[in-house]
Amino acid sequence: MRKVFFIVLVSVFLFAGRISCQAETEQVSRVRSLRMANGMTLIFIPIGNSANGSIYIGFKAGTLLDEEGFGGQARLLQRLMFKGTEHIGTRDWEKERQVFDELEKTGDQIIVKHQADKPDQKEIQDLVRKALQLQDDVRRFYVPDEMKKLYDAYGAGEAWCLAGEDLLEFQTSFPRNYLEYFLLLESERIKEPVFRNFYEERELLAAEMEKASGRPGDERYAGLLSFVYGDGPYSGAAAGRAGEVRKITLSGMKKYAAKALNPKGAVIVVSGDYDFEKVAALCGKYFESVPSGEDTLIRDDGVIPAGKTPEAGKDPAGGTLLLAYLKPPGYSPRTEALLDLLVLYLSRGGAASLTGDRSAEFSGGICRNGDPGRLFRNLFLMELRLRDNVSREAAKKEAVDFFKNLCSSKFDNALFERTRRGLLIEILGSMEGQEGLSRRTGECFLYSGDAGAADAYVSALRSAVPEDLNNAARELFSDANRIQTQ
């Protein structure tokens, strides 16, 4: 029995399959798409005789793209997206707006006073008292949970909003005859969100973050980030973010939301028993008016890990060896599928010659394709556990050679097939329902810009043969792509 093993994670399945597969080799694409004038893409998945409709909306925003010094923006926005709009959740928006504007102004004044060379504490306290009073005044106009009641009243299944690492996502499903109503609701909360209960939500989030910091693994993770990104803005661990959340002001949040909810590059996926023309017309009616501002958040495409910059990352101390490869831009869904397969293949014993009982250098390790948390998706990263008294340089050469030689290695057919089936079942299972299908289709688009990426990923899994892994390895594991460290 092997005492050690090579733990491998396919951290995120970037691309996923579709539901319409009768047999393993059959694949018929039904997805249609169009790009609206404001840059948002509509993807339509027709599902005949469907009792429900589903809307998925995804933006290229997320916790990784929080602005420097204001960590927590995306998560705070996630919470605030359920607080209503100018039409929903208010008893009288015109009056509420006046108080809101005053509250926003006061919040900004408090920050300015705090940042002064010699802060006048009395003046600050007066402003805080004023802000508290204004918050109470705002509450008088607020109709709590009205948005939730509206979704319930029309039978929305699970209406949710999630700020992930690099995506901000919304989804809801509903009886099929209410498509227009839900398109209107969803568009309205994107076009005119009102951040009621802002300060309460900010404090709740800060308290959550305080609890979460210092968890086991944080330090190790900080090491990973430092290795890949050097001392750049993406190298910090999650700890200490609570302080940053408390710096976010109401006006700052509004500016951030305008960038995060930018339709440029965003996607709306509608699925159900509808005509494409009808869906396109309705989406145009409600979503084309989402303003497309000039400001955008920093995109992951623009981030270059350490090693490609003058300031290289740092090798971790201790018994771990890190090895990272930067995936060339424009990787296809097919290549991603193959890399996910490769990662799983290695985890199931395919790395026996590198780690485990036969290895003199490594007792085990972890491999990641894409984003396991805060790492960007264009990375392929290995953490290898060194045995005692092993030369780091020799071990590193061993590991680099192993991956370099994968392009000519003979893959075990039985192990490959086992791995392929396992991954295919997992992917198909994750998208069996209408909601899963819509979400994965949307996510695949956001990562690839290709409305058919989900299909392509599953097709690649269905037809993959061991030699495909050789080719994928040849493309990635070159010295040119390897991130050099100090």
Binding site: C21, I47, A51, E146, G157, D273
Partner: protein, 492 residues
């Protein structure tokens, strides 16, 4: 547009012209209001009016009885995954009273111990090499064994079912391991007040019949022998009366199942004890937990259901009633009374079970009031139930309840596995294979009067059963007005 048509209608006399103008003006006003609603006011929930849920005709599966007596339900779909489920009437409701826990031990030992052809090692290989996922669970009198794999693996999946149904090996170690696993599970979950209350309530409703003891005394589990397990398996795991559900093309699934089960003996299982068809007198059981601030209150009643075709109409009405009484909506009556208006419970739940074969049904409702509020909560829950007959659901309540029932069906229909299981939940209760569409039609067409009449038939006051887990000294006097009280230790 209406206004335009009126004006151009061509009438000439003065009165008609004036009338036309008035009507035109009113029409324009109506149009303006409609437009303004579209622009914002329509967002108010109270202004939404009634809504209907449009559920399309659902795909019917094919139910067929094989020569050996197994019922095969095949429901084809577009999924790339295969879902196959074996249902056997061998659950808690079927175990002998002297051997509580026997059904769970048998199921666990069967799946873990394998068969002569499918040893645990072979099963592990199938999991590893072919990606099979094999899970099992128990629901009332049924046990369910489920396989998930890729389409194309139907033969292997049905072969595993055949082996589990006909060739259980039960090595001694598997039986011992299963007993240990059950004892551990009881240790972890068996102290949950809600589960204890539920067990006690079932005990009361069964009038000394079916026990449904979900968490037997671990001491009694220890007495289960391999011989007990094998005997129970031989009696209960037989083809006749069992079901296989599969999301495959019916004719291919049928041919395969006929081939694989050819020669299997057509042997019927003994009947399981079921809940009585008639409700007995009201009674109360207290599971005494001295000093507990919180209590768990369960109210139950045996429903006296109509047999035959009558149940096809009664089932949708009962499900609508369930939604009117207690759902995720804060407007549902029990939620509104206990949580919203009185604020005497944090959690409220209700379940109505109605089976056609065997004819059996019951209502169970639970709440978690403070001990001193148990009497009041019992009164409110009973009153909410009995009031429905004289206080029918409003239009809004009815539409919301119908909508929720239909949405659950609609949502399940979008997921192959859930839809297969939804169909089977009706089939296992004795409804025909194509009943789901009839059911949806009946739900859509139900009116408030029919719902209220149904409530009158089933929820009238006498013959409720009450089970309370909590500090009895704080509510004994109040609860005793509902019937003869039996008190015993909570046992934890």
């Amino acid at each position: 547009m209406n206004a335009g048509r009126f004006v151009s209608a061509g009438r000439t006399d003065h009165r008609s012209q004036t009338m036309d103008r008035i009507i035109a003006a009113i029409s324009i006003m109506i149009l303006a209001v409609a437009v303004s609603c579209q622009d914002g006011a329509v967002h108010r929930p109270e202004q939404l009016g009634t809504r209907t849920v449009d559920v399309p005709a659902l795909k019917n599966g094919v139910l067929e009885t094989l020569d050996c007596g197994i019922d095969l339900f095949a429901l084809p779909d577009q999924s790339g995954l295969l879902h196959a489920i074996l249902y056997v009437r061998a659950g808690v409701g079927c175990e002998p009273h002297a051997r509580p826990g026997l059904s769970l031990v048998t199921l666990e030992a069967l799946v873990k111990g394998g068969t002569s052809a499918y040893t645990p090692g072979r099963m592990e290989e199938i999991r590893r090499d072919r990606g099979f996922s094999i899970s099992y669970r128990m629901a009332g009198e049924w046990v369910e064994i489920e396989i998930e794999a890729l389409k194309g693996d139907e033969r292997e999946a049905l072969t595993i079912f055949r082996e589990l149904l006909l060739g259980g090996a039960f090595p001694a170690k598997a039986v011992d391991d299963a007993k240990a696993a059950l004892s551990e599970m009881i240790g972890k979950k068996g102290k949950n007040p809600l589960d204890r209350t539920r067990s006690a309530l079932y005990e009361l409703m069964s009038e000394g019949g079916e026990q449904r003891n979900f968490f037997p005394d671990p001491g009694k589990v220890a007495f289960i022998t391999r011989s007990d397990v094998v005997s129970f398996y031989r009696k209960r795991f037989v083809p006749a009366g069992s079901y296989i559900a599969i999301n495959s093309e019916p004719s291919a699934a049928s041919a395969l199942a006929r081939e694989l089960f050819a020669g299997a003996a057509k042997k019927s299982p003994e009947a399981c004890s079921s809940l009585p068809e008639k409700a007995g007198e009201s009674s109360v059981i207290i599971l005494q937990k001295t000093g507990a601030e919180k209590a768990c209150l369960g109210i139950g009643k045996i429903l006296e259901l109509p047999g035959g075709e009558g149940m096809l109409k009664e089932k949708p009405l009962l499900d609508i009633l369930g939604e009117v009484l207690c759902s995720e909506s804060p407007l549902s009556r029990m939620n509104a009374e206990l949580r919203g208006k009185r604020n005497i419970a944090g959690n409220v739940s209700l379940n109505i079970t109605a089976s056609r074969s065997p004819l059996s049904g019951f209502l169970e409702a639970y709440a978690d009031p403070n001990a001193q509020d148990v009497g009041f909560a019992s009164y409110i829950m009973s009153k909410t139930l009995t009031d429905l007959a004289s206080n029918p659901p409003s239009v809004e309540e009815l539409e919301q309840a119908k909508g929720r029932v239909l949405r659950k069906i609609g949502r399940a229909s979008m997921n192959p596995r859930e839809f297969l299981m939804l169909n089977m939940s009706f089939i296992l209760q004795g409804f025909p294979a194509g009943y789901l569409n009839v059911y949806c039609g009946n739900v859509s067409g139900a009116d408030a009067a029919a719902v209220a009449e149904c409530a009158g038939r089933h929820f009238s006051l006498p013959r409720y059963k009450y089970a309370v887990y909590g500090s009895g000294d704080k509510f004994l006097k109040e609860i005793s007005v509902y019937g003869k009280v039996t008190m015993r230790g909570a046992g934890d």
